[in-house]
Symmetry: C2
Subunit: 586 residues, 2 copies
Amino acid sequence: MSERSYCGKLTEERIGEQVLLKGWVQKRRDLGGLIFIDLRDVSGLVQIVFNPAISQDALKKAESVRSEFVLEVKGKVVAREESTINENMTTGKLEVEAEELTILNKSETPPFGIQDNLDTTEEIRLKYRYLDLRRKPMQETFKLRHRTTQAIRNFLNEEDFLEMETPMLTKSTPEGARDYLVPSRVHPGEFYALPQSPQLFKQLLMVGGFEKYYQIARCFRDEDLRADRQPEFTQIDIETSFMTKDDIIEMMERMMKKVMEEVKGLDVTTPFPRMKYDEAMERYGSDKPDTRFAMELVNVSEIVKDSGFKVFSGAVESGGKVSGLNVKGSAKDFSRKNIDQLTEFVKIYGAKGLAWLKAEEGQLTGPISKFLTEQEVEDIQSLMSVEDGDLLLFVADKTKVVYESLGALRLKLGKELGLIDESKFNFLWITDWPLLEYDEESGRYFAAHHPFTMPSPGALEKFHTAPDQIKAEAYDLVLNGYELGGGSLRIHEKELQEKMFEALGFSKEEANEQFGFLMEALEFGAPPHGGIALGFDRFIMLLAGRNNLRDTILFPKTASASCLLTEAPSEVDEAQLKELNLKHRE
Amino acid sequence: MSERSYCGKLTEERIGEQVLLKGWVQKRRDLGGLIFIDLRDVSGLVQIVFNPAISQDALKKAESVRSEFVLEVKGKVVAREESTINENMTTGKLEVEAEELTILNKSETPPFGIQDNLDTTEEIRLKYRYLDLRRKPMQETFKLRHRTTQAIRNFLNEEDFLEMETPMLTKSTPEGARDYLVPSRVHPGEFYALPQSPQLFKQLLMVGGFEKYYQIARCFRDEDLRADRQPEFTQIDIETSFMTKDDIIEMMERMMKKVMEEVKGLDVTTPFPRMKYDEAMERYGSDKPDTRFAMELVNVSEIVKDSGFKVFSGAVESGGKVSGLNVKGSAKDFSRKNIDQLTEFVKIYGAKGLAWLKAEEGQLTGPISKFLTEQEVEDIQSLMSVEDGDLLLFVADKTKVVYESLGALRLKLGKELGLIDESKFNFLWITDWPLLEYDEESGRYFAAHHPFTMPSPGALEKFHTAPDQIKAEAYDLVLNGYELGGGSLRIHEKELQEKMFEALGFSKEEANEQFGFLMEALEFGAPPHGGIALGFDRFIMLLAGRNNLRDTILFPKTASASCLLTEAPSEVDEAQLKELNLKHRE
């Protein structure tokens, strides 16, 4: 009986056995001279009974016990009486009669109960994270995270990948997001940067002949935070040599299939659908469409391009477009006030307004209906599959605004109207991305993915003539409307990499100073290579059915990048700064 | 034939098959109108033959091929003629007749050959690390590293450990080594620190009820570097709740046994020997003794405490000691000049001199022999098991100096005289460590391990009376004279943790400011817990039979903490510093 048993794993087969248990007091109840304690360990709960007929001494000690005390209990597993069986508890048919009790540690009254549903602020949860983590939903999330990690590793190990560790103290490069910097003491005035991703190192490993690399890598971005961003995050980082785009996509599909099966017990269908970037934007107004529901954008530009409704025809005339959503059967549920609220919503995305029509008795009614010809009405009804009771919502604007506003509106309505089947896991590849994106503000092109992405065949001649028409050998994996990850083939020839830097507005000197080591590596027999990086925290969030990235990270930071538990960041000694040859400004 | 085969895996069974190969040119030879290329991929080598009778076109292309070009070859596996079989090559009995050749990428002439033994500087290797990594010894090391990682994970997963990720952007604490700091942009004037180890977070996970944690964790120390130190390093980090010291030790032994079996095919005997710290110092002059050879330190203080040789008796009188090494059978191999060199060596460790005696014809001869009585000579001969031809070396000094100098001398002689059986893997536990160490310079006690180490029973009363007599519930794992890792039970009660900080000279305020969150966590039902951390890079170094830590890290830093490949650290834009509210001094 010196070997410990786990509370949640006790079964009826063990009735009559002596056991040794260790864990925390979930709950104590005193009843008719007896004390009942629900004891909790990593495996679950079991009820302990302290009975004066079994041990006066144990009962006496149990009287001092409070919630979250840490106990060691020796006792006998017994069956519960029929009337006291608890069907909601895995071990609800039995209990343990305590013979000996040792209090291993005491506990103050915790600031919140260790229970599934909490009625406290996230600030308090984060400050007492070690208590928050004791709650079952959190324990389950991190067990799931562990299982997912191992499932991915096992898959990749079987595919002959090598797990490899790239440096955290790396070189700062202005391209991309803002780096976290680390001052060097040995080289005063110089800095390391924490990696935004192991991108260049994994490419160098391909040049180094390893062929199949993976890492579950911590990455860092010093950006302003949103609900789905953290200063440090984890990505499944993969790179391969000699594989085609289809090879990589097919392998990732097998990986996801295996993970979904092992972790969620779900059989997802492969191959995953693939959609070109342009089509995704046109149909969903998004490069990461949630395909768990329809209500797609319908482009009515052709129908209304000469319309008497000048908002419509004007948008088309000036190079923009008019698209609409058919909110099936919702005409009666949306008052003018409701629609005004939707109008305010699309304005966030730069839309100037939201036109609407309701389908009633074969007609389309609403403030704009009087501007539409009978033919236009008929064509809209046909193109948008309109039936009586439908609500039609339109945005007429620059293409980008139409996509962003209707894409967001589609998601909002999808959620609010309950159109989304939450049990679904819809994987989708987005392919044929643009290579470059023009930034109006800075008046230059940026890499849509990153500057190492391979352009699609035929790009070379377009770099000078039509850079925005160059496509990339890139593929993003989307799950339920979230970007799970992005990958691409990489440039493995020095000349092409130089062209790319040139297109991004780098001078030869700038390119060399920042990426000279990469371009030199490409001169020594770099193999064709490509890979992918998957956002692991987000994947866990989706697998665990949570909607907050912080619930998937053990010790997350707040929106102001603080740790409420340890109070990092904090001030440091002047002597430490002096060693780094730094001082505060002003 | 669209599926790729691997060069090094082709076997005679595949003779006659068409294959598709991809890889690098290891070597090209032109011979009698034919071209022979050794093609290398991640799996190994195979010989390709370009024969005009098979393909004129492939032969023509092959003429332009140089070392390290990247090729795709289609061809047929054929048996080599008896006379051309290469027994030194796994695939030496066959070759591939090239039918098609595609040059996937060219290569400049590399700065050094991709061969096992290099005749170049480490600087050049590090600058062209991607070429260095193509060499077989490096490929093998990182494959071994991968296998070791997975063997450890598989073991821990089967023991129900959860792999968990703790933060990299943490709080700076002055205790311990020097932190790498990361300035915060959102909180100007404040800093994160990169973790020296996940110590506090793993303890908080125990408070959080997870019970069994592990992580293959990157850690950081901004210390001046030696051959076996790197600014960032990897440790196998383990923590458990409710386990005893023996439980943890026994589990680690099973883990090591499994790893050695899986990775090296060796059956190591468990349990590993255990030795108390005091005994290790007394017998080996080291807290990490290399037990692959004997030549232990022999304490002759009792014999010589009243000796006429005042160097000996004086050392004992003033509280120090006299110990010696018996270098078996080496009397004739060490001239006075040799011994003078050894004397210079022990002076590095603070010893004032090295006394010596040679055993000849039952006598001890040498400059100090005239000061020794017959009885003293006899007792030394007996205690040190002296036989004719032995060389005896003595240091008489403060205990610490005797241990350090003779410990180092023992290792030096062990290596130089070839006493070490390099095929052995000698694991050893060092236990019963001191809890505190007095530092003369700062006039205060420091934690011998870290401030969270559990003192052995009975410590409380000694904190004020005899702090240096307190032992710790700590255990170090030693392998072949290297500290592989250190572990301990941790303090889980707030009062004891307060006492510990007090003994370390912390005021209440200082303790609270730095470790308040830990002490608060201990108030809410912290379970008894303990763990261990193993230096993974060093373990790989020993497993791979290397003697340089840099050979076990993909992209290591130099002794001045620079990356010669990427040239990190580097200067950053003034704008980046400004965002962090920092500027350079002076």
